[in-house]
């Protein structure tokens, strides 16, 4: 007769059930090591990601996949009556049964994760001496991210009684914040609030309610950096939220595991009491989104009738479908009418709140004393934005609003100017200005106002000429020293690395900053477009601080010419050998009649560098030796 310590031996038996997931985990982690090793050599295998820390994209997805697989493998027996009889019939307490499966999952992720990271420390070529820090951070973030997703999958399995319901529930829960909260609020704000740009609280809420996004933010995989630059202090807030979410979801999972009735297997939902709550979570956002898209069908913008019709029909349809899925009976479609009616009324009230702007969102403008600073970003001004794209999309706004702080007189000037533009009709918009009102308590409120024409931009003059604005808008205007960096210059046709000494770099930067300080909005409008671009590069050509060179930048242009660069030349000054307008070849003579500007320098919104046609020209460089093909835009003649 054999006698073995039951719990240890059972743990091993439990681990054996994960054989498939263990193989997948080992394969994925081995792939990560190979991919990382190749990325160190500049080679691309799967992701080509050379980051050792938490920002490594491949490890992010590996931990995500393993969390889902471990959750399903460890707990999906709750969806099979035969398996459930086997496990619940064993002489083990439910709590012990839970922990065995739970810990198996963690080990399957954690051990290969630690081992692979240790191997990668030895493979890492350049982690600026922080290999251990990044590797430890990577392990910590991947394990926390794993636990976040793992707990969620387990919770969904416990709340459901069928595998299809668990899979659908997991898919929804993973992105709930982003697609069920964020998208609905975004759509309604954009449709009904004229001055909507973004709401911090909603952004934070969607990040927290969407585990994948929370994990992504915590690990920093969306930071778009080329090398490891993850810092635990920057992620402390996300870490705290994730840790709290892991703890709460873990305890809740254990509680539900003990509470879950065995007979719930085979039903869509394991707990009757959760039905109403789950229905509300699904039906409200989906009904609102159906209403929104119904409204989009209208010929006339914002048809409230179609919106309400969509909400009512959507709500009753969804209510019926959810009832059918729950009861697996087509007759259940008309069940729970009062609940569906109540949810419909809630949806109508929510949409009404947006329609009537009960928050006075559009008329909001803070008093000067209320805020510490204000930041503005006019789309197209100092960015390579083209008017034939959506003028509401300002790619530079996020960085500018973060960096810029208009205070004192500049703040008052900005508020006065914003007061004038805030009621501008969106349909008349030439471009948009994104604004951040920064409060004393670190709260930030965002708005976006339409700018209707040149006059409103001219009125922006006092703000534009301020040092605070320029430092916040033009990265090269910052206070950083050029030592250790190199410069890149381009006039839209030719691009050169400036092989300067540190002193020469400093001289060039001094010239540029002096010229920039004198630049005013009238000159900007007069010059229409810049004639060059100067970039202080960091790691490579892609990254760095840049600033445009305008014709008035005589000192900078003179300095570059003195060094042998054709800084004064524009497209028209080159010999054009070939001209294609929208893939159609034209006579070269036609080029003389066009106001051509290199696409990379077509940045001024007031002057509309757009004809709707893309132009490609072929010309020689300044030494008449090398042929260059560049994309251009045609400026509209000045009216």
């Amino acid at each position: 007769m054999i006698s073995v310590p039951s719990s240890h031996s059972y743990f091993f038996q439990c681990l054996k059930r994960y054989a498939g997931v263990i193989v997948i985990s080992l394969y994925l982690h081995a792939s990560y090591i190979v991919d990382f090793a190749m990325a160190q050599q500049g080679l691309y295998l799967f992701s080509g990601d050379n980051k050792l820390g938490p920002q490594n994209n491949m490890m992010f997805y590996i931990s995500l996949i393993i969390a889902i697989l471990c959750g399903l493998q460890g707990f999906s027996y709750l969806h099979s009556e035969k398996k459930l009889i086997l496990y619940l019939g064993l002489p083990l307490k439910r709590t012990l049964l839970f922990w065995h499966s739970y810990i198996c999952g963690i080990l399957i992720m954690m051990i290969p994760c630690i081992v692979s990271r240790i191997i990668c420390i030895f493979l890492a070529r350049d982690s600026q001496g922080n290999a251990l820090y990044f590797a430890a951070g990577g392990i910590l973030m991947n394990v926390l991210g794993f636990l976040l997703i793992y707990n969620l999958v387990i919770l969904i399995i416990l709340l459901t009684g069928r595998i299809w319901a668990a899979l659908a529930g997991t898919a929804i829960a993973l992105v709930y914040g982003t697609y069920f909260i964020g998208t609905v609020i975004e759509k309604y704000c954009t449709a009904f609030l004229n001055n909507y740009y973004k709401i911090n609280m909603v952004e934070e809420l969607t990040a927290v309610l969407s585990p994948i996004r929370l994990y992504g933010n915590m690990a920093g995989v969306n930071d778009y950096s080329i090398y490891d630059n993850w810092n635990i202090e920057d992620k402390a807030e996300y870490l705290f939220i994730a840790a709290a979410a892991i703890l709460i979801s873990g305890l809740l999972a254990l509680f539900l595991f003990n509470l879950r009735p065995a007979e719930s297997t085979g039903k869509a939902l394991a707990f009757k009491k959760s039905k109403g709550f789950i229905k509300i979570l699904l039906q409200i956002p989906l009904s609102l989104i159906i209403g929104y898209y119904s409204m989009q069908l209208s010929v006339k913008d914002r048809s409230v009738l179609l919106l309400l019709g969509g909400i009512i029909i959507g709500s009753f349809l969804l209510g019926g479908i959810l009832e059918i899925l729950d009861k697996a009976d087509i007759k259940a479609f008309i069940g729970n009418k009062y609940q569906t009616f109540t949810i419909t009324v809630i949806c109508i009230l929510i949409s009404g709140a947006f329609i009537f702007d009960i928050w006075n969102y559009d008329s909001f403008l803070p008093d000067s004393d209320e805020i510490e600073a204000v930041a503005v970003s006019i789309n197209g001004l100092e960015t390579d934005y083209l008017l034939n794209y959506d003028p509401a999309v300002d790619y530079a706004a996020e960085d500018r609003l973060n960096i810029m702080n208009l205070t004192g007189r500049n703040k008052i000037n900005a508020l006065n100017w914003l007061y004038k533009v805030m009621d501008t009709d969106k349909s008349q918009a030439l471009t948009f200005v994104s604004v951040a009102y920064k409060y004393h308590n670190d709260q930030i409120k965002y708005r976006r106002y339409a700018i209707a024409g040149q006059k409103q931009i001219e009125e922006f003059s006092a703000i534009y000429e301020s040092e605070e604005y320029k430092q916040g808008t033009i990265p090269l205007a910052g206070e950083e020293k050029p030592s250790g960096h190199s410069f890149l210059w381009s006039n839209g046709v030719e691009t050169y690395h400036l092989d300067f000494t540190d002193e020469e770099n400093q001289e060039l930067l001094d010239c540029y900053r002096a010229d920039l300080a004198k630049l005013n909005i009238e000159q900007l409008i007069e010059y229409r477009t810049p004639i060059g671009l100067l970039k202080m590069t960091e790691w490579n050509e892609e990254n760095g601080r840049e600033g445009y060179i305008y014709p008035s930048f005589e000192t900078t242009i003179g300095y570059l010419i003195s060094k042998g660069f054709a800084a004064e030349k524009a497209v028209k000054d080159y010999e054009i050998l070939k001209l294609e307008v929208q893939d159609r070849e034209c006579n070269i003579e036609e080029a003389a009649e066009m106001l051509l500007v290199s696409e990379s320098l077509a940045v001024n919104p007031v002057l509309a560098a757009d004809t709707g046609e893309d132009v490609v020209i072929k010309c020689r460089d300044q030494n008449n030796r090398v042929y260059t093909v560049i994309s251009c835009k045609i400026l509209n003649p000045r009216h």
Binding site: I2, I85, L86, R94
Partner: protein, 299 residues
């Protein structure tokens, strides 16, 4: 001793068990008889601690059973369609059960499966239904628990396999004090080896009796009377049933055989003889006494 105290269980407004109470003495073999949907499996799953009763409790040796791992170690539940792991062999299933049942006897298990000529490396998924059932019986028996709950284990098996399983169970009950609880919808499967029988119907226990006791206590006689004499018969007997066909009277009565014979003699019977009595007859007649017609249940 296993005590089922007023257990009730409802599934989606359907009452599966209604205030079921039963006391099962250690070492006895119990048969739970009932039609499909009567509540047999639900009762066994509640006893095994798989289902939680809505009301009532299961007490084993004065200790509550639900979620009590120490007490559950005394019980092995064998369902009609037991689960085995996808790549399991007879050996790997034994490894699994031995990890949770401390007293699992792997040596005896190996002997038994070798005796039944099972290949220890063959995957269980390739086994026939009867072979799988036999493997699970071996697993259950070698777990050495004091209580074994079997749900419809003979259902769909050919007579050879059924006999093998019965022999295995007989042997176990005989050699150690195993308490066996077997649920079935077929009385013939149970009457041969059960000490006690309980009839479950519409979620309630209709009847629960010790078979041997009933067989000793209940007797069937056929008597021949001249006209009118039989009227005196009913007064002195504890009758379960009586049937008259002319001069012929067939009666089922509780009591000591000799005393019943004496009463029949005194009542003026010309001739009489005791007839063999089946368990089925006892149960049908007993249930009729309490107002139920269970012939449909146990036939």
């Amino acid at each position: 001793m296993l005590c089922i105290n007023g257990v009730s269980k409802t599934f989606d407004n359907v009452q599966a068990l209604n205030n079921v109470s039963l006391t099962i003495e250690a070492g006895k073999t119990w048969g739970i008889l009932g039609v499909n949907g009567a509540g047999k499996s639900t009762l066994l799953k509640i006893i095994a601690g798989i289902l939680r009763p809505d009301k009532g409790s299961i007490v084993l040796d004065d200790k509550q059973l639900y979620n009590n791992s120490k007490i559950k170690k005394e019980i092995f539940f064998l369902s009609d369609d037991a689960y085995y792991f996808p790549n399991a062999t007879v050996e790997t299933m034994a490894e699994f059960y031995s990890s949770v049942y401390k007293e699992f006897d792997i040596v005896r298990y190996r002997k038994l499966y070798e005796a039944l000529e099972f290949d220890n490396i063959r995957k269980m998924r390739t086994f026939s239904k009867g072979m799988k059932r036999q493997v699970f019986i071996l697993l259950a028996l070698c777990s050495n628990t004091n209580y074994l709950l079997c749900d419809e284990i003979f259902d769909g098996l050919d007579p050879v396999v059924r006999n093998t399983i019965q022999e295995l169970l007989f042997h176990e009950v005989k050699n150690r004090k195993l308490t066996l609880i077997v649920a079935s919808h077929n009385l013939k499967e149970l009457e041969n080896f059960c000490d006690c029988l309980g009839i479950i119907h519409q979620g309630g226990i209709l009847l629960s009796k010790e078979i041997q006791h009933m067989q000793h206590q209940t007797h069937k006689f056929q008597c021949v009377y001249n006209e009118g004499k039989a009227l005196q018969l009913a007064s002195g007997l504890d009758l379960v049933s009586i049937e008259r066909q002319g001069f012929l009277v067939t009666l089922l009565a509780r009591g000591i055989k000799e005393e019943i014979e004496e009463i029949i003699r005194r009542s003026g019977a010309d001739r009489y003889q005791e007839l063999p009595l089946t368990v089925e007859e006892i149960f049908i007649n007993e249930s009729e006494v309490i107002g139920y017609d269970i012939s449909a249940i146990i036939s």
